[in-house]
Amino acid sequence: SQTIHQWPATLVQPVGSPLSLECTVEGTSNPNLYWYRQAAGRGLQLLFYSVGIGQISSEVPQNLSASRPQDRQFILSSKKLLLSDSGFYLCAWSVWVPGIPPEQYFGPGTRLTVT
């Protein structure tokens, strides 16, 4: 069965510090991977998605970036955090089957507080 991991689970970082969040998926190959952010009490905002190694699409211009160095690894980064970067960061995966919209599953999330 498939499993998705995220770490760290919680993080407190000062403004201006760098960020690296990691997501890995087990039990599947060539998944589509997604990064979402959820501000406190708000909905889910898609930040990035990737359909393969090195292929990243950005949905929202910001000071965040994403990378996919391996098939089942997705990394979210920032060089300098802003207060507005605080939130619950969720990684998700799906497997594309031609002609059939895929189910999408979320990881446990990373709660980031920028102080």
Partner: protein, 112 residues
């Protein structure tokens, strides 16, 4: 474009029923439903792929009205465990670009 969910919040007593609606101004091809409990990640409930499709899981079911560009989630005989925020996501794109756009969520509180 973000789908619109209604109501924004609802309070139920155990055993009561609720309906959560998700509508879009654009044509819908797939609708995904999730439940998120406080402090946790969203959990996948079901996906509806075709207009008129209905699905059910225990006492939670959903329908998809393609013509009305709307999906509804039905919770019957609610239990305390049903509390949480329910999100619908509408799917767009194909291979290489498939993504979900989520509504703002409906907060459901079930009280004894």
């Amino acid at each position: 474009q973000q789908p619109v969910q209604s109501p924004q919040a609802v309070i139920l007593r155990e055993g009561e029923d609720a309906v959560i609606n998700c509508s879009s101004s654009k044509a819908l091809y797939s609708v995904h439903w999730y439940r998120q409990k406080h402090g946790e990640a969203p959990v996948f409930l079901m996906i509806l792929l075709k207009g008129g499709e209905q699905k059910g899981h225990e006492k939670i079911s959903a329908s998809f009205n393609e013509k009305k560009q709307q999906s509804s989630l039905y919770l019957t005989a609610s239990q305390l465990s049903y509390s949480g925020t329910y999100f619908c996501g509408t799917g767009v794109g194909g291979a290489g670009s498939y993504q979900l756009t989520f509504g703002k969520g409906t907060k459901l509180s079930v009280i004894p």
